[in-house]
């Protein structure tokens, strides 16, 4: 007598179970198949081609009516199951009950809906089944704008399909890079670049706060208040196992329905398969393990011994025509090392993760041909010590090619600007070389490239080397660090020329040799990116030295110093009282008056920082940035208000300058001073920028030093008004910000580019001066904010221990 098998859910996994079952023993079971969708099994993986129009629904059906009829399956499609009665062993459908001897749950997964206002508006859909796909096709026919929330595989497939169908598509992704589960940031960057090349807008770190609209969706509101117009919103932020029936039936459910290796749930007559299942703490979403599970289910149903063993997985995906591959475990971990290969010209990135002498993980983008070979090495645990040197080049390569240090320059387009001062592109230089300019001097003479400030000299030499090959001998230059062969100057110039606006963009396009930089290059890159792209680039605190990350100066015992700003060295009894109160309240052991005319509270515990800042903020004080590569202080004398020799309001100008410049990040620290007369009590002539007031106006000088080197400033220019003095100083700050090497003080940098060039740019060329000021103000509009107030409000918690185990440990 046939046993009764009821299957809930006609997905890919349960479809495979039925195939296996009927192949092995067609007469063992009488099957009833429930499906909430009004149709049978189809290949869900192929929904993307349906969306993009490459396939039709009929082409992706895996089991048609004839197949069900032949195998005697009773189909109850379009009918929801409302419950399972385990005592009576019946499944309760909307249209009646069915008794079972064995029950198989294949309820799959449900899309996760982010709980924001407007999530139920018409026009907001998920991307899970054929109905969703058809809704998208219908919406796309009307054209307009689509916003896809979620930059994982499904979201990107939806975005690509909608774009193909003519919609204007924006993808929002909460994390820092796309498909963060499958890809590392570098591969994520390349994927983003490809998508953007196809006209899809990608916004990362974009958090949706509401979906707006009256009767239907009209726009998406982001947490940063950006409003994106939308005629269609697709939510593809993730899926979770659909476990409601199992939970209601009191089966054991963790994240998914728990099963043993035979795929049996906590009830011996109920099995589960597919995305609704949790086995050994793991969930499953890719098709290969689901098919393995299906085989086990079929055997268990036929009382044959079988056990499900999760296998090492590889993902080889084509997201909208972009090749990507990931396999094994590519997280950094115990005893692991990276081998990284980047080819900026071809948009290729490969990363292998080794553990001892075996390969444990691989990520590839752009060229995935060797994926299965690497996957084989991972699965088999092959000893790769013999081929380690050339491993990353794949099975076909057994030579010894080295990564090309000139790859980044070779990959530059002809219209990439090499010399910013003179507007000379790579193509101009190559043309000059081909016309016979075969050394640096000749290139300078014919094109003027590197003839002004000179910071692009290294790049011009590299263009010579790339163009002339072995005929040109490269002078040795000091690279930024072990992650690259490029110098600071090269990197800065290339960030501008190639419009690189993120750290992964720099790593990939400039062929970085490490996966995520090091403590030497990351702070420099973070600075270059925020200085060149103040609006587009998002400051990365994790790439800053601790002082700038915690906005306080670390001391040798791991405590911090706190210095409130005193504008132009001026303070009040109220401020002094607040400082005294704070010093007492937080047991500050040392109070010191600094050389920059302010008060330093030394020995504050890291976890007390947000509290002491909050107290000082309340008294109207802000961070003095005494820890930053940025504007530190503007020292002043008391000027004509009090001093009998004073010629101008030096204190007032100092305060104006400090109010204009504070909060700006610079290659190294910047200190100013304003003296009210040539007696120079504020010692303006040994500062980075100094102003000396005279009867006729203001003498502005730059490039002084009073530290490791002692050097008098050199005259930049004399101006008649405070307004001009402010403009000149802002322009000076900006040209330094845009051009200097990270950790070069102004005097070091001016020594390299020459004061004459600086004068031309800042003093003589009025149009350029105005443009510099404008760019400085743009940057200030983003970065001039009190970090104390910001951190107190947004991240005070991160200053405190994540946990305190002193109590538990004492027990």
């Amino acid at each position: 007598m046939k046993q009764k098998l009821v299957v809930i859910g006609a997905g890919m996994a349960s479809g495979r179970v039925l195939e296996r079952l009927f192949e092995a023993e067609p007469d063992a079971y009488e099957v009833t198949l429930f499906n909430a969708e009004p149709r049978g099994n189809y290949n869900r993986i192929m929904l993307s081609p349906v969306l993009s129009g490459d396939k039709t629904y009929e082409e992706i059906v895996t089991h048609d009516d004839d197949w069900y009829a032949e195998n005697g399956v009773t189909c109850r499609f379009g009918e929801h199951v409302v419950g399972i009665d385990r005592n009576r062993k019946v499944v309760i459908g909307e249209k009646g009950e069915v008794a079972y001897d064995k029950l198989l749950l294949g309820t799959g997964s449900a899309p996760f809906i982010i709980p924001v206002p407007g999530k139920d508006l018409p026009g907001v859909i998920t991307y899970r089944d054929l109905d969703d796909t058809e809704k998208m096709i219908e919406a796309a026919a009307k054209g307009g704008k689509a916003v896809v929330i979620g930059g994982g595989l499904l979201g990107l497939e939806a975005a690509a399909g909608l774009k193909e169908r003519g919609m204007d598509v924006t993808v929002l992704h909460l994390m820092g890079h796309l498909m963060e589960r499958q890809l590392d940031p570098s591969a994520g960057y390349l994927l983003r670049k490809d998508l953007e090349g196809r006209g899809i807008t990608v916004m990362t770190q974009a958090s949706t706060s509401a979906i707006l609209g009256e009767d239907k969706v009209e726009a998406v509101l982001l947490e940063d208040k950006t409003v994106l117009e939308a005629d269609l919103v697709v939510m593809a932020v993730g899926i979770r196992p659909e476990t409601r029936l199992a939970t209601d039936a009191a089966l054991e459910v963790a994240r998914g329905v728990e099963v043993n290796a035979q795929m049996i749930t906590s009830d011996p007559d109920i099995l589960a398969v597919g995305e609704c299942v949790e086995f050994d703490g793991q969930l499953f979403g890719l098709v290969a393990p689901l098919y393995d599970q299906a085989n086990v289910v079929a055997q268990t149903l036929l009382a044959e011994p079988a056990a499900f063993v999760p296998k090492e997985l590889s993902t080889k995906l084509k997201v909208t025509g972009c090749d990507l591959f990931s396999a094994g475990d590519f997280a950094e971990g115990e005893g692991r090392e990276d081998i990284v290969f980047r080819d900026p010209a071809r948009g290729v990135y490969k990363r292998l993760v080794l553990e001892g002498d075996t390969l444990v993980g691989a990520v590839m983008y752009g060229d995935t041909a060797d994926g299965s070979w690497f996957f084989g090495l991972i699965k088999d645990g092959t000893d790769i010590s013999e081929m380690r040197e050339t491993l990353i080049f794949g099975p076909g390569f057994q030579g010894g090619a080295q990564a090309d240090p000139l790859a980044a320059v070779a990959a530059l387009a002809d219209d990439a600007e090499i010399c910013g001062c003179n507007g000379i592109c790579k193509g101009d230089i190559v043309a000059a070389i081909q016309d016979g300019a075969t050394d640096l001097g000749a290139v300078r003479a014919t094109t003027k490239a590197s003839g002004s400030c000179g910071t692009c000299t290294g790049l011009v030499e590299q263009v010579l080397a790339v163009t002339l090959g072995d005929d040109f001998v490269m002078p040795a230059a000091q690279p930024v660090c072990g992650c690259t062969d490029l110098t600071h100057e090269d990197v800065r110039r290339l960030i501008k020329a190639q419009e690189l606006k993120s750290m992964p963009a720099v790593w990939q396009e400039l062929g970085w040799k490490s996966s995520d930089g090091c403590h030497v290059c990351r702070p420099a890159l973070n600075y270059y990116l925020l200085a060149d792209w103040p609006v587009e680039y998002i400051d990365d605190p994790q790439s800053r030295f601790i002082n700038e990350r915690k906005h306080a100066n670390i001391q040798k015992d791991g405590t911090y110093s706190v210095v409130p700003r005193m504008w132009g060295g001026m303070t009040t009894p109220d401020e002094l009282r607040a400082i005294a109160d704070a010093a007492e309240k937080y047991n500050v052991p040392t109070v010191h008056v600094t050389g920059g005319q302010r008060i330093d509270l030394l020995g504050v515990k890291g976890e007390d920082l947000p509290d002491i800042w909050a107290d000082l903020n309340k008294a109207g004080m802000v961070s003095g940035h005494a820890y930053s590569k940025g504007l530190r202080t503007v020292k002043t004398c008391v000027g004509k208000d009090h001093c009998r020799f004073g010629t101008q309001d030096s204190t007032g100008l100092g305060i104006q300058l400090e109010k204009a410049l504070w909060g700006s990040w610079t290659p190294h620290k910047v200190k100013l001073a304003v003296s009210g007369c040539p007696r120079n009590c504020a010692e303006a002539t040994c500062k980075d920028i100094g102003v000396i007031c005279v009867d006729s106006g203001y003498q502005i000088s730059v490039a002084g030093a009073a530290g490791m080197d002692v050097k008098e400033t050199e005259s930049l220019t004399d101006v008649a008004t405070e307004k001009e003095a402010l403009e000149i100083v802002m322009a000076m700050m900006q040209i330094y910000r845009e051009n200097a090497k990270y950790l070069d003080r102004i005097y070091k940098w001016v020594g390299k580019v020459g004061l004459d060039w600086v004068k031309e740019q800042v003093v003589d060329d009025l149009e350029n001066r105005a443009a510099l000021v404008e760019r400085f103000l743009l940057s200030q509009s983003v970065y001039q904010k009190d970090p104390w107030a910001e951190h107190v409000a947004e991240r005070a918690e991160t200053y405190r221990p994540i946990a305190n185990l002193t109590l538990e440990a004492a027990e």
Binding site: G176, D184, P185, R255, G281, F330, A331, E332, G333, E334, G335, R336, D338, S514, S515, D516, G517, C518, H519, R522, P523, P541, Q542, S543, R544, F545, I546, N547, R549, K550, I554, K556, D557, G558, G606, E797, T798, P801, I802, A803, N804, L805, T806, E808, A809, A810
Partner: protein, 110 residues
């Protein structure tokens, strides 16, 4: 082993660290770019610098005081510097960070 839940993975920034206070001193818990977690003593063996305040790159951290670089897996100083920082078992499960309590105590006694 007895695992203690010390908090959610999201409470530590990628390429960042937080401190766990224990009766035997602070332990620095790191989260790498790829969401691996590591726990090491928060004291640089060189001059006692707080490693939790260092820059995290790959699976290494650079001490903020004098730029010594340590492997987060083995605790060994990299390059020319010689020294070792104690490491503790740590793992992530369902988005929570777990530390091995027995090991924390054993190390303190040893």
């Amino acid at each position: 082993m007895s695992w203690i839940d010390i908090g959610a993975l999201e409470e530590i920034a990628p390429r960042g660290a937080r401190v766990v206070k224990t009766a035997f001193g602070c332990v620095a818990v790191f989260r790498t770019e790829t969401d691996e977690v590591f726990a090491v003593s928060d004291r640089c063996p060189h001059k006692g610098g707080p490693l939790s305040d260092g820059i995290v790159h790959g699976n290494k951290v650079t001490c903020p005081l004098h730029n010594w670089v340590f492997s987060l897996e083995t605790g060994e100083a990299q390059g020319a510097d010689e020294g070792q920082v104690p490491t503790y078992a740590a793992r992530v499960e369902a988005g929570r960070i777990l530390l091995d309590a027995t090991q924390l105590q054993a190390r303190a006694v040893a």
